[in-house]
Symmetry: C2
Subunit: 503 residues, 2 copies
């Protein structure tokens, strides 16, 4: 193609996009300037991670982060910044001591994390470790009467593999192209097998607990000192008693297994203290607003959000201080450039996402109702769109339409000023498992951005290594300016974002 | 090239190699059969790692491994299997308790390893952490009188990076070709800068210790829970008192640094118990033999070896249970196929390699003398070659000549039957830092094999993650058959392996 033709084509494309969906390039320039040159996103992330600590639902760490966020949002000039209760969550919980080591055949401290909502050991616990070879409840019967005060370990057949692939990756052009060319949203994969395995393990744990096992060791996903945590014991205040349980690094776990299978005696000592909190079992979302200024449109709302809660093994940097910091930074940018929106902008920092999107789901039910349950409320029709960020700390590469084809030309136009920052892809695909689903499920346009996965899957997502170190400043800055621009354009757009066909 | 021509060329190459250096293909077949089909290398590695534990010089773990190896070598029919003292090493040491956590601003157990030969904390220690901003001894003066009983942390400027490269790698064909084509051995890189930095840190630690610091935190290399340990405090029985020191995971370390620099108070609790052993300060190498059967040649020796000692953070699987297991497996294979060597075969499992090749260096001085010091002994002329394995758990890709060009055609011929297993490269290059150097330094041909590095540099070498899990059975089997074949051919060869020009 010669240059003249290319220029003409570019002009045509720019014009045709602009004809369909206006982009305010002057404001985009201001947003980029503020967000890329005077960013506070890393400072925000630092407060959420290092300063607040682990932010498990109901924990003191979450409360610290929520209180700091409210204060900060107020300082930036947002209104109505508050903790809004969404309903009953259950018990709070935190780790107050976590020590475990094998002491026979020799001493070695193990890397392990108490499963969330499991009890402690009531001081220093010592026991020989008993190998549990059982794949079902009936298999467990043979251990009846033998487990009182014992440490037990579940047999596994797995081994660890060295990784010949990079821990951290970004999307390739071809992968993005495939997403852009997808014709229909892929339905989410079934989680039945996972849920069934989890229920079986829960039932087996209950048996071990009833038999008085003093400590359960379960094998964590992860290698090289990285320990992924999973859902722990139930957090309901009515939940039955569980045994103390340590999710143990693969290397430490398999060493014990190999020794036991070779007939060697292995002894463990552990001192685990966990604390439950039952004085306030409500869940809260942090909510704050930039009120709409247009008489006709100010009742309409554009929402942005991310969950502020995390798992307990680290400080939840990529899951999801990253998303929280980006969303907070997006509204900071909009305030800093002096933006007075037509529609009301509302930021929500959800809690209890990790236990099943509780914060966002309950917020949606409380405010908007549920058409499937015939509880629709008037505000349901007034939310233009909800934007979410919760796929790690990687920069934005585009956006998932969640099957909402009518939004495609809008978002394509809005991404045009960010092609130079690597964000250009609009895919009809769904992405699941986070808070935009709470909106999408009731027919309100809810979107999650496509993000470079970095080392989310290999190192950080729900792990003991999800720390501030894993955040990339450039990525978070980029994400914040794109979100700010999307929110700006949604607030000023003539119409609300088109919706999918009613449910 | 047509097939006929290729066949002719192959015949010619085989013939020309054979003409220069014979290969006993029938024995190679037997070695491969025994080593690939009835391998015991993983069982040996299991005993050395999981069963024996960390094998720091002078530690009970090392003694367990040495005793087991002697028993095993005897069981396989080797003669004169024994612990041979090589001289005075110093104090033994092991960890008997290792617990540390930050308790303010919230509780979080940290991943950290006591530096070798540092003392413990005398029970549970609690302190605020003081940031030490000093790059030199004079910088430290400002802290005089303020450190008594305090935990201190050295400031660092570094941050952690996500890895977009694989943790584990194998040699590419092009890298092997470049090694094969190297014209002259590259002199080893200067370590002066490293040694100078280490000496400065030692002097600064002495200041902190003299000031009564209760605990020093130093930052470990490594990410994601992987902690690399370095040389600790001196092991000499005359060594001055050191402060307890924890080499701390990057993530945990930098969190503390960030909090302190933001003016936040950070408190730590730690309970570290280490035990010194002074009842026997000798160092020992495990030695065993297959006596030579040829009247004329049996006084000559072919040696193979690897160091059996390790660092203390894990069980030294790739450094160097792997090499030890492979060398033991090589002699097991040779016994199993009923081999009666012409020359005597001697296996040596060195100790204190990690503190400066002490075991091998002293063995060489004791048995062979040192031409540079005019202490040459008659046996110096009777060692055909020494083969070493100590570059991790990866398979053998060839051999370093250490500048001994005359050995090239010999080794090329001996590698010919193993091209299908990925071992073909003979390079004039040196490789440094392990026990073959002790031989090479006194003019005895000492060789180290080229090995795929796997995740040696990124995850295992001197780290808390150097565990049995990181060993690849196929790689170790391959290495054992190649070493067995090299030892076989060296034992039976008409001449000894050619030497470099005398020193």
């Amino acid at each position: 193609m010669n240059i003249k033709l290319a220029t003409l084509l570019l002009l045509f494309l720019t014009f045709s996009a602009a004809a369909q969906e206006p982009v305010d390039t002057a404001v985009v320039r201001k947003i980029r300037d503020e967000g890329l040159k005077r960013s506070k996103v890393m400072e925000t992330a630092f407060q959420l991670t290092d300063v607040s600590g682990p932010r498990l639902s109901g924990s003191p760490g979450l409360k610290r982060a929520q209180e700091w966020a409210i204060k900060q949002l107020k300082q930036w000039g947002l209104t109505n910044a508050r903790n809004e209760p969404w309903g009953k969550f259950g018990k709070g919980w935190e780790i107050q001591k976590n020590y475990a080591a094998i002491t026979t055949p020799y001493y070695h401290t193990i890397i392990a994390i108490p499963k969330a909502w499991t009890p402690g050991t009531n001081g220093l616990f010592k026991s020989e470790i008993l190998l549990i070879e059982a794949d079902s409840l009936p298999d467990l019967e043979k251990y009846k009467g033998q487990l009182k005060g014992k440490a037990v370990i579940y047999d596994v057949k797995t081994t660890l593999k060295q990784s010949f692939k990079p821990d951290a990756v970004r999307y390739s052009d071809s992968a993005l192209l495939a997403m852009a060319q997808a014709k229909a949203a892929i339905p989410p994969a079934s989680r039945i097998a996972i849920l069934r395995a989890r229920a079986l393990r829960q039932a087996m744990n209950n048996f071990l607990s009833d038999e008085g096992a003093g400590l359960i060791l379960s094998m964590a996903r992860g290698t090289d000192g990285t320990v992924f945590t999973t859902n722990g014991a139930p957090y309901a205040d009515s939940a039955r008693t569980a045994a103390p349980e340590l999710e143990t690094s693969g290397e430490d776990y398999l060493r014990i297994i190999r020794l036991l299978k070779a007939g060697k005696k292995v002894e463990i000592e552990a001192d685990i203290k966990t604390q439950f909190f039952t004085n306030d079992m409500q869940g809260y979302n942090v909510i704050a607003e930039m009120p709409g200024m247009d008489k006709r449109l100010k009742e309409q709302v554009v929402m942005l959000g991310a969950h502020i809660d995390s798992w307990h093994g680290a400080t939840g940097a990529t899951d999801n201080a990253a998303g929280t910091a980006v969303m907070m930074e997006a509204v900071r940018i909009l305030k800093a450039i002096g933006f007075k929106p037509k529609r009301t902008i509302r930021i929500a920092l959800w809690s209890s996402e990790e236990q099943g999107l509780h914060g966002s789901k309950n917020y949606v039910f409380n405010h908007f109702g549920n058409p499937k349950a015939n509880t629709l409320k008037p505000e349901h029709g007034k939310v233009s769109a909800y934007y979410n960020l919760d796929n790690g700390g990687g920069k934005i590469r585009g956006i998932y339409l969640q099957g909402n084809a009518a939004a495609a030309p809008v978002f394509k136009a809005w991404l045009a000023p960010f092609h130079d920052l690597g964000a250009a892809t609009v895919t009809i695909n769904n992405t699941a498992s986070t808070d935009h689903i709470s909106f999408d499920n009731v027919g309100i346009p809810g979107f999650q951005f496509i993000q470079d996965s970095m080392d989310y899957g290999t190192r950080t997502h729900h792990s003991n290594q999800d720390t501030f170190d894993k955040l990339s400043e450039d990525d978070l800055k980029q994400a914040a300016v794109i979100v700010a621009s999307f929110v700006y354009h949604t607030a000023q757009r003539k119409e609300m974002i088109p919706r999918k066909a009613p449910l």
